[in-house]
Subunit: 186 residues, 2 copies
């Protein structure tokens, strides 16, 4: 098994596709983020890393809140477009016909069309280099009603058909290979 | 489009499946990690979040280095098993017949069988609650030779058949929906 070494770089994939909404209910934007993840289970905490020159960076500094709206297949075009266009030039919600609905715990919109909306309050901004990391607590999670089976109180994430990002390409949801814990099931 | 609110929780998926190797070349372990991500492009930086009670936590404190070994489909069983078993009780490399090869820039093993090995040096440990976040710089990346097309100097990640994790299930690589930037291509 031969290996080659690459220059140090960003090779941790596949990643969720996060349409991050930020700002307030008057001035808001969407920015597609790859550098995001969960950093703690209890309390539930997430981060997003954003370049200081991005339009959304100032919105995040002005109102320290954001929503991670996960992208499903129908949001693939929006995900790509919100990653290359700037909120300085376009109104992304309007141009993409997406619905800004006030988050339950924030003064900032969720994207109604996204199946999962993770509402976050920023607790710290960490300067790292090209990116600033916004560390946040999860304050609420909204989930589309159609992810719940009849009578279920926990949504089935597979119904969301979430997409992922593999450095240069967007991928659909793959096939199930096993359930968590299958390796020790009798 | 009706929504339901859930208790604040960890709903950011799908995620890469990271078999993290740590320790030194005498005492080492593998721990499967979901809470991982890239936090900065330049310099390239990653994190992993680990519960203090985990065996690997002490190894990370003793030698502040680790390797993120990405899991492909043949490593699905190992990924699950290394997430539920403790290195206090078993020798994971030996029991799974995985090969610990010294990292190029660390005194810690990579998992040779993983297609992508991201070598990291820890720069900071941040206590958050249930998890400590280990913030790190990427010092080298090793990639299996078979990911490179003839004459290519950049690997094609799609050839790695990386798996992902969706809260309770492991998923195979999905189908390509579009290339980065497709929304503004003429």
């Amino acid at each position: 098994m031969k290996k080659r070494s690459l220059h140090p770089g960003t090779w941790l994939f596949p990643l969720p596709v996060a349409l991050v909404s930020c700002g307030n209910m008057n001035t808001y934007n969407i920015i597609t983020i790859s550098w995001t993840g969960t950093i703690c289970s209890d309390p539930p905490m997430c981060y997003i890393s954003v370049r200081p020159e991005r339009y959304s960076h100032q919105l995040l500094m002005d109102n320290p809140e954001f929503v991670i709206n996960l992208a499903n297949a129908p949001l693939t075009f929006a995900s790509d477009w919100c990653g290359v266009k700037s909120g300085r030039d376009v109104n992304k919600f309007k141009d993409l016909k997406l619905t800004p609905m006030k988050a339950e715990t924030l003064n900032c919109p969720i994207i109604l069309e996204s199946p999962i909306n993770i509402e976050c309050k920023i607790t710290e901004v960490k300067k790292l280099g090209s990116h600033d990391m916004f560390i946040a607590k999860v304050t609420n999670v909204q989930v589309s009603d159609n992810l719940f089976a009849d009578g279920a109180v926990v949504p089935n994430l597979k119904n969301a058909e979430l997409i992922s990002y593999l450095k240069t390409v967007y991928l659909s949801q793959g096939e199930q290979l096993g359930r968590s814990g299958f390796s020790i099931k009798k």
